[in-house]
């Protein structure tokens, strides 16, 4: 009798282990392709604290380069952004980060405030699956689920990705237990060049009011930062293409909000001269996002503002931090040198 129970227990344990293994195997790795999906998880590898945290969507992880901030100003920073990262996802990621560290300032890119409802399951997955299990993760999942999604499938991703068994590739085996680092402190490098050729504007909208849900989470971010004694700075990246268009009406609302709450708000659209942006060389996809050359110019420009506004002096003299960051800078320069255009 006892033996039988032991046997069954062993079988059950083996099954659970097998399922766990299958889960590791079947989850998308986001290594060779769609690297954006690997961004959120890389934050946990950081060993040192940051002066600045960037949050937002692709307009942060393609437009600001932490290694440049280090090289030029000795400032340490991290970008916690992922593809179409929605305001509530940004909020909960911020909440999670502020439990771990207290930076001088948080920089939030406002473009995603145009979204007031859950959008897309695939983007949700890329943002949320990388988060470690926490109260914030659960809240973020609840706020983000589109119709037909279930909380359970985030806790047990096997339930979501089980049908990938027929599309497994070498990558899935290679990265079973570890991942490479794809970003530079959250910056995803693009070295390609595809000039911007169109000055098309966005199509007119029926309603220019930014959704209340989005503004609610902005307010939550503000309150959270206030509570933690961290400055909140709003930015709008300089990119402005017809598909990802930033309307003047939206801008006015953000400017009003910033003024009412005494926040700094920097809209970089139209500052090409000051920043030194050249849309024929500084974008990799025809103007929707900056490439590394554009991002460096913007970072350099914005870094000066930040140092001035926040009184940042840098950590160059701190040997421990400097060692960590010089290594990061090396890796960054190497990739920049090599280029990553397909």
């Amino acid at each position: 009798m006892k033996k039988k129970i032991l046997c069954c227990a062993a079988l059950l344990l083996a099954t659970v282990l097998l399922l766990g293994f299958l889960q590791l195997l079947l989850m998308p790795k986001y290594m060779a392709d769609k690297q954006e999906g690997a961004l959120v998880g890389e934050y946990y590898r950081e060993t040192t604290a940051h002066d600045l945290l960037f949050i937002g969507d692709c307009e942060v992880y393609e437009c600001f380069t932490p290694p440049t901030l280090w090289e030029e100003y000795g400032v340490t920073s991290y970008i916690r952004g992922s593809a179409q990262q929605l305001p509530w996802q940004s909020y909960y990621l911020l909440e999670e980060m502020l439990k771990r560290e207290t930076p001088k300032a948080v920089v939030f890119n406002v473009y995603a405030l145009k979204y007031g409802t859950p959008q897309n399951e695939a983007y949700n997955r890329m943002t949320l699956d990388g988060m470690q299990l926490s109260r914030e993760k659960l809240s973020a999942i609840r706020a983000s689920m589109t119709e037909g999604e279930s909380l359970l499938s985030y806790l047990l991703p096997l339930l979501r990705f089980h049908s990938r068994w027929d599309e497994l590739s070498a990558e899935d085996w290679q990265y079973l237990f570890h991942r490479d680092t794809v970003s530079h402190n959250g910056y995803l490098m693009q070295t390609g060049i595809l000039p911007k050729t169109s000055d098309r504007e966005g199509v007119p909208l029926a309603d220019y009011t930014l959704p209340a849900t989005a503004m609610f989470y902005l307010e939550q971010m503000r309150l959270l930062c206030e509570e933690k004694g961290v400055a909140l700075i709003l930015v709008k990246a300089p990119t402005n293409s017809w598909r990802y268009y930033w309307y003047d009406e939206w801008d006015a609302q953000i400017a009003d909000y910033a003024e009412a709450n005494r926040l700094s708000y920097y809209n970089f659209i139209g500052l090409d001269g000051e920043i030194g942006l050249d849309w024929s060389t500084d974008t990799y996809d025809g103007g929707a996002h900056l490439n590394v050359y554009g991002a460096e110019k913007l970072t350099s420009y914005f870094g000066e503002i930040l140092c001035r506004e926040l009184g940042l002096t840098g950590h160059r003299e701190n040997a421990e931090i400097a060692a960590v960051w010089e290594e990061k800078l090396d890796a960054y320069k190497q990739e920049r040198e090599k280029g990553n255009t397909p």
């Binding site: 769609k34 969507d57 409802t117 890329m126 199509v203 029926a206 293409s241 996809d285």
Partner: protein
């Protein structure tokens, strides 16, 4: 006995009233008809584009992280935007931008909001700056300024 019967019958009646839910209105797919070509949101783009012939302007834009371009084709009075799914292009939006073309129910830019309501009935959503008609997986929007139609959009709904 009779009383019980009456009681039960009235409960039955009440129940059947309970069972009534609002009739689900059959949603219409609004389509544009331009130069004799029917264009509707979510239709495959290829046949429409080849029927319309050479476009006068073209722009494209990638999406974040995922494969697939959004493309926008201009034809003077109207524009067609497409999206990619499974390697094929489908229509995401149709924009009528000047009075050179009219909707299937004969509304064009410059018409009044009253004319729109006469042709399309009560809108699903109405504000000073727009009239919106929800269709099957898409919305037809008339943008207004001072009660005059300035722009007409057939837009795919976000899933």
């Amino acid at each position: 006995m009779k009383h019980i019967l009456c009681l039960l019958l009235s409960v039955l009646l009440a129940l059947s009233l309970c069972a009534c839910v609002d009739p689900a209105t059959e949603k219409e797919t609004y389509a544009a008809a331009i130069e004799g070509v029917r264009i509707a949101v979510d239709d495959p783009a290829e046949p429409v584009l080849s029927a319309l012939g050479e476009w006068s302007s073209y722009d494209e834009s990638p999406s974040c992280a995922f494969e697939g371009l959004d493309k926008i084709y201009g034809y003077g009075s109207f524009e067609i935007q497409t999206y990619t799914e499974g390697g094929k292009d489908y229509i995401r939006a149709i924009y009528l931008i000047d009075d050179g073309c009219r909707t299937q129910r004969d509304i064009a830019i410059g018409d009044t909001a009253e004319a729109v309501k006469e042709a399309y009935g009560a809108p699903t959503h109405e504000s000073a700056s727009s009239l919106q008609y929800a269709g099957e997986g898409m919305t037809l929007t008339f943008l207004l300024r001072d009660g005059i139609v300035t722009n007409i959009q057939y837009l795919k709904d976000v899933a």
